[in-house]
């Protein structure tokens, strides 16, 4: 089943056209990595998917329904589309547990005790139960990002968007976050991952997309993209990534 699609997606910032007609789709259980050089529009694409950036043209289609450009539809979409940011963005005024519960309690109005139970299970999954009552300020980047993943998962999203989830981390903390993500992929979580971690993209993705100057320039299996790149831009991009 197709979870999320875009048709002819365009996005401009002022005069600069950042996305120039993106046709994209992801099926349930699929893991799609998006690679490309800095400024190619990867984040913008991801942020258009959940309307953090407003598209200029084209359609965003969630489970075969075009998402209308009005507050109620956008909020409904966001309940089903999780997002994990490069800079974690945990709520500073809440403990780890409250962060993970926030969507359930505030958005879904679920009962506190149920939400707490679910949140604790997710914290267990990302290996952070002992931090449940701690505030984000005192934690490492790797821990913060794992909490952020748990927070996104709490809503039981149909797809999770990751925007360079390990780029803000010290090198020694990258592995713990990638391990959590690999686990998710194994469990069949539908994921769109913007990443500079080529090894991860290669190992975990079902499909890799190379975005260049706002266009999907090449798309294929990890083997096709990394071992048999056809496009010249992709080749020079891959050779610039030392991995």
């Amino acid at each position: 089943m197709t979870i999320l699609e875009t048709k002819n997606l365009h996005k401009k910032f002022n005069k600069a056209e950042v996305l120039k007609g993106i046709d994209f789709s992801i099926n349930q259980g699929e893991v799609v990595s998006i690679i490309g050089s800095s400024g190619s529009g990867k984040s913008t694409f991801l942020r258009c998917l959940n309307f953090l950036d407003k598209k200029d043209k084209g359609d965003i289609i969630f489970k075969n329904n075009i998402v209308e450009n009005k507050a109620a539809s956008i909020i409904e979409l966001r309940k089903h589309v999780g997002m994990v940011f490069q800079s974690f963005n945990l709520f500073f005024n809440m403990t780890v547990l409250k962060n993970v519960m926030s969507g359930l309690v505030i958005v879904n109005k679920e009962e506190k005790s149920l939400a707490e139970k679910k949140a604790m299970e997710l914290l267990d999954k990302v290996g952070l139960t002992e931090k449940a009552h701690v505030y984000p300020e005192t934690m490492s980047g790797g821990q913060l990002q794992r909490v952020a993943i748990a927070r996104a998962l709490a809503m039981s999203p149909d797809v999770v968007l990751f925007d360079e989830p390990t780029s803000a981390l010290d090198p020694e903390l990258v592995a713990e976050v990638l391990a959590v993500m690999k686990n998710l992929a194994k469990e069949g979580c539908t994921m769109i991952v913007v990443t500079h971690e080529m090894a991860f993209a290669r190992e975990v993705s079902d499909r890799v997309i190379f975005l260049h100057e706002g266009i999907i320039t090449e798309e294929g299996t990890p083997d096709e993209i990394f071992n048999h790149p056809k496009n010249e831009r992709l080749r020079s991009f891959l050779s610039s990534m030392s991995f």
């Binding site: 959940n50 953090l52 507050a71 909020i75 409904e76 966001r78 309940k79 999780g82 997002m83 940011f85 800079s87 974690f88 963005n89 945990l90 709520f91 500073f92 005024n93 403990t95 926030s102 969507g103 505030i106 958005v107 505030y135 300020e137 005192t138 952020a148 927070r151 996104a152 809503m155």
Partner: protein, 225 residues
């Protein structure tokens, strides 16, 4: 020797007159507390209005802040006291004083909130939106709690000003501390001891508020390293 006698006379006079201030202290407290609470509510409402991004509401909020910041408090109080009745709005003296002071404080408090709301990183808004919160849910659960914490020192300062500004209510015939001081000074001719009492009262009130605020700041800091 004469100095000591004078000092003693000053002190006994100050002490003798002090109990006469009790009704004034109560009025000052009532004016201050009410105008601070109401002012905070006004400040909050101004920011909520602006959040709607609806043009007329934003303009109304901006106009309110501009008028208050652009005119003297004394004039605002006169307007409440003399102006409103002429417009056919009758409220009692005390209410008009509270309204005037709250109106005044609200504008400054709204600016304090605005500043501290703007200082919240964009990522906090985005994470709240991304998880499906409405603007109001995000404001209530994420943005305002953080903004409020940052605003406490500046709010405290405004609250101290509010206590002192309440003395201006004396000009619209509210019998608060300053009004009593003037009356007592005129009646007893012990001018300095009486004004000394008034000064002590304001000092004690503002100092007590300061202590409370420090405690609040400390408690709000629990989630920092």
């Amino acid at each position: 020797m004469e100095f000591f006698e004078n000092a003693l006379h000053f002190l006994t006079s100050a002490i003798d007159n002090f109990p006469k201030f009790f009704p004034g202290i109560i009025a000052t407290l009532q004016l201050s507390v009410l105008s601070i609470i109401l002012g905070t509510v006004f400040g909050l409402i101004v920011n909520l209005l602006k959040m709607t991004k609806i043009k007329p509401l934003c303009m109304l909020a901006d106009l309110y802040v501009a008028v208050v910041r652009g005119t003297p408090l004394l004039l605002q109080l006169f307007f409440m006291f003399y102006g409103l009745p002429q417009m056919g709005i009758y409220i009692d003296r005390f209410s008009s004083a509270v309204a005037g002071l709250a109106f005044h404080n609200g504008a400054y408090i709204s600016e304090i909130f605005r500043g501290s709301i703007q200082a919240i990183p964009r990522g906090q808004h985005e994470a709240a939106k991304a998880i499906g919160m409405t603007k109001l849910q995000a404001f209530k659960n994420v943005i305002f709690p953080q903004a409020f914490k940052h605003a406490v020192p500046a709010l405290g300062n405004q609250f101290l000003l509010a206590i002192k500004d309440s003395s201006l209510a004396s000009v619209i015939t509210i019998t608060e501390t300053m009004m009593l001081a003037r009356q007592l000074a005129a009646a007893t001719f012990s001018i300095f001891p009486v004004y000394f009492d008034a000064a002590v009262i304001y000092m004690v009130l503002t100092y007590a508020l300061n202590v409370l605020l420090r405690k609040l700041e400390k408690r709000l800091k629990v989630n920092e390293r």
